[in-house]
């Protein structure tokens, strides 16, 4: 009995097709960049990248950083994309433990200060950074602006601060880490904060627009970003050059955002080219105006609003990613007991 010839032909052509599709990484490729919902890039820049390299980049948005990392871990081995951007030092260790990245050392790292290169195996490449800090609405403060993180427990600022729960919010978690790194005894600090009448919300939006003065709320201090005052100026309803908000620089936690090649990609070379490009001055100079974070490259230029209004802590608080990963659940459980219990 002979096989019907058309099945043979089908199998043959399918396998040829499969062979044609796989392996050949020199041909112009389309690669996918998965990122968090806050990712923004000027569209023409991506077109320039395609014109230079022949590589088309498709974007995929995956919610907030925590959700993006969960989804990447779930799809490990058969990744949703070729490159991930936006995993930060609070989630980094978890992503590294799950082995979702392929190592790649970009030649572009020469323009990046060493302290941003947290992973010595180069599984991820630093791209941008920013600080999570307490912001205040200058006109609504009951007294002179606070200057140290310990001031927040002072009765002068009773019922003025709103924070986010570290269980559901990434700035909330960053601020908890800032207090762990930046106060003598963080558990006592939060006990005092609670006694001083802090308010807790689940997410950033409810805090910033619900309870903070920005949305008409009655609290004058909120956990937000060091670049928030710049955004308030750039997106003010009436043109202004005075930011309505200021930043308590002693309360800042530094978040570094990384890009990495996802293990299992069919286009590792094209993925590497994208990472190199993200360190080039064109993309790096686009980062602040688009995403309200700072570029890691020494060669990037900052927009004027950023120079004038965005701030950076001289000595931001930071913790080792491995230490965070080892203690995060315990810390947040303890935080829940102290603050919400």
């Amino acid at each position: 009995m002979t096989r019907p010839p058309h099945i043979l032909a089908l199998v043959l052509s399918l396998s040829l097709l499969a062979a044609a599709c796989s392996g050949d990484d020199n041909a112009p490729a389309t690669i996918t960049l998965v990122t968090h919902d806050s990712f923004v890039v000027t569209a023409s820049l991506l077109e320039d990248f395609t014109a230079e390299t022949g590589i088309t980049v498709e974007l995929l948005f995956s919610g907030d950083t925590g959700q993006m990392v969960s989804e990447a871990i779930l799809s490990a081995g058969n990744p949703l994309a070729d490159v991930m951007f936006g995993v930060d030092n609070t989630f980094l260790q978890r992503a590294l433990d799950a082995k979702i990245f392929e190592a790649y050392e970009s030649p572009g790292l020469g323009v990046v200060p060493d302290n941003f290169e947290i992973d010595d195996q180069h599984r991820v490449t630093p791209i941008s950074f920013g600080d999570v800090c307490v912001n205040y609405w200058t006109d609504e403060l009951p007294a002179e602006a606070p200057t140290s993180i310990e001031d927040l427990t002072d009765p002068t600022f009773a019922n003025e601060l709103v924070v986010q729960s570290p269980e559901s919010s990434s700035p909330g978690l960053a601020f908890l880490l800032a207090t762990i790194a930046g106060t003598e005894d963080w558990e006592q600090f939060w006990t005092d904060l609670r006694a001083n009448g802090i308010s807790v919300t689940a997410g950033w939006e409810e805090a910033y627009y619900g309870e903070f003065a920005a949305g008409g709320g009655d609290r004058s201090m909120v956990v937000s970003y060091a670049s928030s005052p710049a955004a308030e100026v750039m997106f003010a309803a009436e043109p202004t050059d005075v930011a309505p908000t200021g930043v308590l620089l002693d309360s800042c936690y530094r978040q570094i955002e990384f890009a990495g090649i996802l293990a299992g990609t069919d286009h590792p070379d094209a993925a590497a080219q994208l990472i190199d490009w993200m360190l080039e001055p064109a993309f790096q100079s686009d980062v602040p105006g688009s995403m309200f974070v700072f570029p890691v490259s020494n060669e990037a230029t900052l927009p004027q609003e950023f120079v004038d209004h965005a701030q950076l802590a001289d000595e931001p608080h930071m913790l080792d990613p491995a230490e965070i990963e080892a203690n995060r659940d315990e810390w947040t459980d303890r935080w829940v007991e102290i603050v919400l219990g």
Binding site: V40, L59, E71, A231
Partner: protein, 539 residues
Amino acid sequence: MDRPLGRNRSRLIAAAAVVPAAFLGVFFVYPVASVLWRGLGGEGLEPIRHVLDQGRTRDAIWFTTWQAVASTALTLVIALPGAAVVARSTPRARRRIRSVVTVPFVLPTVLVAGAFAELFTTFGLDDGSFRLRHTVWAILLAHVFFNYAVVVRSVGSFWAGLDHRLEEQARVLGAGRIRTFWEITLPRLRPVLAAAGSIVFLFSFTSFGVVLVLGGPRRATVETEIYRYAVTRIDFTSAAAVAVLQLLAVLALVTLATRLERSRPATTAIARPAPPLRRSTRFANYGSMLVLLGLPIAVVIERSFAVGGRYGLDHYRALNTRVPQLPAAATTALRNSILYAFVAMALAVLIGSIASLVVVHGRRWLSRVFDLGLTIPLGTSAVTIGFGMIIALDEPPLDFRTSSWIVPIAHSLVGVPFVVRTMVPVLRRIDPRLREAASVLGASPRRVRREVDLPIASRGMVVGAAFAFAVSIGEFGATSFLPRRPDTLTAPQALFRLLSTPGELLRGQAMALAVALMALVAVAVFAIESVRGTSEGSF
């Protein structure tokens, strides 16, 4: 001549059942089973015992259940007068009310929470002895706000088709107004009350944003616990364990509700519609609707016009220009939303109508399975479905996880239960005598279907279809836990992105977009329900 047709018919139904079964199987059962297996595989029941051992989980289960029961009861009681107004209005007025009450449905929780918070402050309910902020009352109030439409729309439409002569006879025999309602009307509404009640319960049971935002960070529900384990802790095992508990609870509830719904099919031959309500009653009802639904909406509208210290259309004009925070202009996002909503609606109507026929006319076991199976997605955590799709639909021929089709498909998973739950009570009510009469009078079976079954069934269908549309516009379901492409940006997603960067312009634009969404859904629901034109009046 009749007999072989009967057998053909049951065969036809069994064959048609393949469509909804395949849909549910591929896009719900397979993904959910995959993600639960990923979490629990090999560990058996141990993780479930482990999460149950924790006081936090037990508290969450208890709180979730009682707040959902309370939300359902409260919504039914508060919305029943509204349903009466709908039932006893002219068809045109009925459509108007039905489309207006759907508006809250599409408002993102964050905005509603913000509006409620502002109202609490305005009326002095944010602090002091009568405090609503971060209490269970705030959660219940918001659930009533969101679900009011579910009861008014489905109960109102069903009620309109009840024969009023029974009430008239009761009144003639000396029964009072209240007694007539209690003993004559209410029992006949039971199937649709059970149907609407089960939808409200499932919505409240799986409510996420309302609980987090209005209830405050202290409140944990089953849904927020699944999120906490799966997303915050990346503990897929515990997440799957809680998800199994949620599925069991939902299964139990839906079994109970479908039994109630089936209990007493109040058949109607040719109904005499009830006379309109007294003017004063009607206006009292409009007044309460205005306070309950109108106030929070008014807050959003007011904010959309506020520009700095004045009022203007600036935020609306800005909708057409892309801000850096969005991959496309807000108007493009609105267009995408409309497109997806139509596709999701078409899918939900197709799947839902076939499924309803199977539920009403199919074999007993098939009917039960469909009845349950197609409602369960409404009570399943969005995290479970979304993450399930990511791991299950990742390879050809089911490589859907990043396709644009997955958006309307995921929306229609929530839309189908609406179509089924509005169509089944209506279909069940069709009096067999009406069919018999038609065939005795010489109508062919096909004509009976066309002229008896179809007009009656289509009443349930359009109400369900409009729901499916609104559900998609409001983006209920798993899409927030699926990776999204920039060209599939929907209006609610655009709204969240606008709200996640500080700046008055962005916030104002988000408010304008919300108002556009509300207007859009009101117009669309009205248009969809007008498709059948005047035929509704003939019932």
